[in-house]
């Protein structure tokens, strides 16, 4: 069995003492920052990304994956305890989780979330392992035209899942792509958009852009109102769910896992969609739907499983095609490129230890979350009481050190300030930064494949429509675009995002 020997290779890599340690640190740090209200998984990873650069590629990606799960888990914790979801995907958890907490069942809600996530994580890790290889086989048939079309699909899907105006999201993609092109043109060596600053000729530093747009802009937004957080700090007691709770969470967890795994593969941020879809399904199949919104166990177990499964399977497009499915995966691509790995179908064949190590570490990371965080919940709850004005100077210091440590380029620090300002401006103008970051990462790849495809087809643009895989992909992109502009879907979409606010 190939699968078993591959997984064995993965587990030997991921279970080496050093990698276990990095996974542990990642999970802890991720939870630590993720628990801080208002800071979601993307901002957390952007801030912690630089810490991983000194490590071996495998260890660094394992640690990053750990940070990702930790941050997500931290987001659910705040959602349940203080009704403040760190990430939009845990917004659904807040609805019923917070109600459970108010009824004195915070402990049970947290364990249900953790156990549901763990189950979903286990199943979807295996799905990633099973589907990764056949998909890489398909991906190896991809030429420049197919890659171009696939990236278009990814960008279009990111628009579909962005909040607010679709036109603005499109504009963010275009702006992101343009920013991604800053630097030296690979074919001719001409510097582009560098304003004569030699330090930017290698392009804008990805970490600087991510930290600025997500980290700093977020801090500024939190400084706006500076109201003291009214924390209903529910006492966390009775961690272990009762037998009855277990009985009631089995169905939702199974359904949530299935929904999440399927939707996570879609490029463009399946985890959020998965959580919403799961909540809707649970409400529909429930014997007593009136319980929803009042602290229904299914309303916590289902969406939490779904968003974790989605988070896991969103690694599939990244590992097989090198296409990031959401902003977090875009950060992963950035990290891989900095480590000298070009994400794509070749990774599985050329770097099997890395590939399978990451997959195995997903499962280990999830296990650690359950084993460590349930006993540590008391500590995380204490963290919530740390006032914000103490936190952000710490965050600022770490961001500065982190960004500088990437290349020892002080211009990267100026870029952080610039993009912090720009990111804050965009938030104020109600533009979503996620499509911008995705565009920024894909910009150079998109241009390169476009130019290559045009050269291969001797300047004939119909190549994108005559090659079957490429044509299908473009049709998907067009379909997504048409669907989001349909009036009925548009209304529904606004409704969904309204609920989330």
């Amino acid at each position: 069995m190939d699968l078993i020997s591959n997984l064995a290779l993965g587990f030997t890599t991921a279970a080496s003492p050093a990698n276990l340690l990095f996974c542990l640190i990642g999970v802890l740090l991720g939870t630590l920052i993720g628990v801080l209200p208002g800071i979601g998984a993307t901002a957390t990873i952007a801030m912690l990304l630089p810490i991983t650069f000194q490590l071996e590629p495998v260890s660094s990606l394992i640690m990053l994956a750990g940070i990702y799960y930790g941050a997500q888990y931290g987001g659910s914790t705040t959602a349940i305890l203080i009704n403040m979801p760190g990430e939009s995907s845990s917004a659904v958890t807040a609805i019923d989780g917070y109600q459970m907490a108010r009824k004195g069942r915070a402990g049970a809600a947290l364990s249900i979330a953790a156990l549901g996530s763990f189950f979903a994580g286990t199943v979807s890790t295996f799905l990633v392992a099973i589907f990764a290889i056949p998909l890489t086989g398909i991906a190896l048939k991809f030429g420049a035209a197919e890659y171009f079309s696939l990236m278009v699909v990814g960008l279009v899907s990111s628009i579909a899942l962005a909040h607010g105006s679709i036109v603005k999201a499109l504009a963010m993609v275009a702006l992101g792509l343009l920013l991604g092109l800053v630097g030296t043109d690979i074919y001719t060596g001409t510097p582009r958009f560098t304003l004569g600053i030699r330090e930017y000729s290698d392009g804008l530093n990805f970490v600087a852009v991510a930290v600025g747009v997500f980290g700093i802009a977020e801090i500024l937004r939190n400084l706006e109102g500076e109201k003291s957080r009214s924390v209903l700090m529910a006492k966390v007691s009775g961690l272990w769910p009762t037998r009855d709770d277990f009985r009631r969470m089995v169905g939702p967890v199974l359904r949530g896992t299935a929904i999440g795994s399927a939707l996570g593969i879609l490029p463009g941020g399946g985890a959020i969609l998965a959580a919403f879809a799961s909540y809707t399904v649970e409400k529909r199949v429930a014997a007593r739907p009136e319980e929803f919104g009042q602290g229904a166990i299914a309303g916590v177990a289902g969406p939490e499983s779904a968003n974790n499964a989605g988070a896991q399977t969103s690694f599939i497009p990244l590992l097989t095609l090198g296409i990031p499915a959401n902003p977090v995966m875009a950060l992963m691509v950035g990290a891989m490129i900095i480590q000298g790995i070009v994400p794509g179908p070749n990774v599985a064949a050329e770097q099997p230890t890395l590939f399978w190590g990451i997959i195995a570490s997903m499962w280990i990371g999830n296990l650690m979350l359950v084993v460590l965080n349930l006993p540590l919940i008391g500590l995380w709850v204490k963290l919530l009481t740390v006032p914000y004005y103490v936190l952000f100077p710490i965050i600022m210091a770490f961001c500065s050190i982190g960004v500088y440590s990437v290349n020892s380029n002080v211009y990267d620090l100026y870029a952080v300030a610039l993009f912090g300002l720009g990111g804050y401006l965009l938030v104020k103008l109600r533009c979503e930064p996620a499509p911008l970051l995705l565009g920024f990462v894909l910009g150079p790849l998109l241009e390169e494949n476009l130019r290559r495809a045009m050269i291969l087809s001797r300047g004939d643009p119909t190549t994108f429509f005559t090659r079957p895989i490429s044509a299908v992909l473009l049709a998907i992109a067009l379909a997504v675009l048409v669907v989001v502009f349909l009036p009925s879907v548009k209304a529904k979409r606004e409704e969904v995002f309204q609920e989330e606010e």
Binding site: S165, D185, I219, L223, A397
Partner: protein
């Protein structure tokens, strides 16, 4: 005369997008465009910049149709202290060295909140510096000079 209704947020957003598009178009003019077969460095960016500017126009036009919510409070104090922190760190990390540079950067950032007391800020900045030096400089071994040439007489 009917008062023209504007959604301020979208109007500013549209103008910003047009300006950004215009900037990139202007920059593209200095680049070789090439042909569709052999695209030059300016070809793809020019297309994107034009799209960006057009989308800006669309947003601007939409702004005249609906009146939206106001922009809301702006974190002026936050911007005044948060943004200079990394810039200060960048300007001084080579000269002053890691330790003093980080201390002052953290101190500047600390004042972004109106709730911060001066003494508290100094204590916090000192704590951050000690912790970071221990972790980044000693434990992780990042190649930063702890005290730079400016601190030596």
């Amino acid at each position: 005369m009917r008062q023209l209704q504007f959604d301020t947020t979208n109007a500013i957003c549209g103008i910003t997008l047009i300006a950004l598009g215009g900037f990139f178009i202007y920059q593209c003019l200095g680049l070789e465009l090439g042909t569709a077969l052999r695209m030059g460095p300016g070809y793809f960016p020019l297309i994107l910049a034009v799209i960006l500017a057009i989308l800006g126009v669309v947003v601007l036009v939409q702004a005249t149709r609906v009146s939206g919510e106001p922009i809301g409070p702006i974190a002026l104090r936050g911007m005044l202290f948060i943004l200079p922190a990394p810039v200060f760190f960048g300007l001084t990390v080579r000269g002053l060295g890691f330790v003093p540079s980080l201390f002052f950067a953290a101190l500047i950032a600390a004042f972004a909140s109106s709730r911060m007391k001066p003494l508290m800020a100094v204590a916090l900045a000192a704590a951050i510096t000690v912790f970071s030096v221990a972790v980044f400089s000693y434990a992780l071994g990042l190649p930063f000079e702890r005290f730079g040439p400016w601190t030596r007489l």
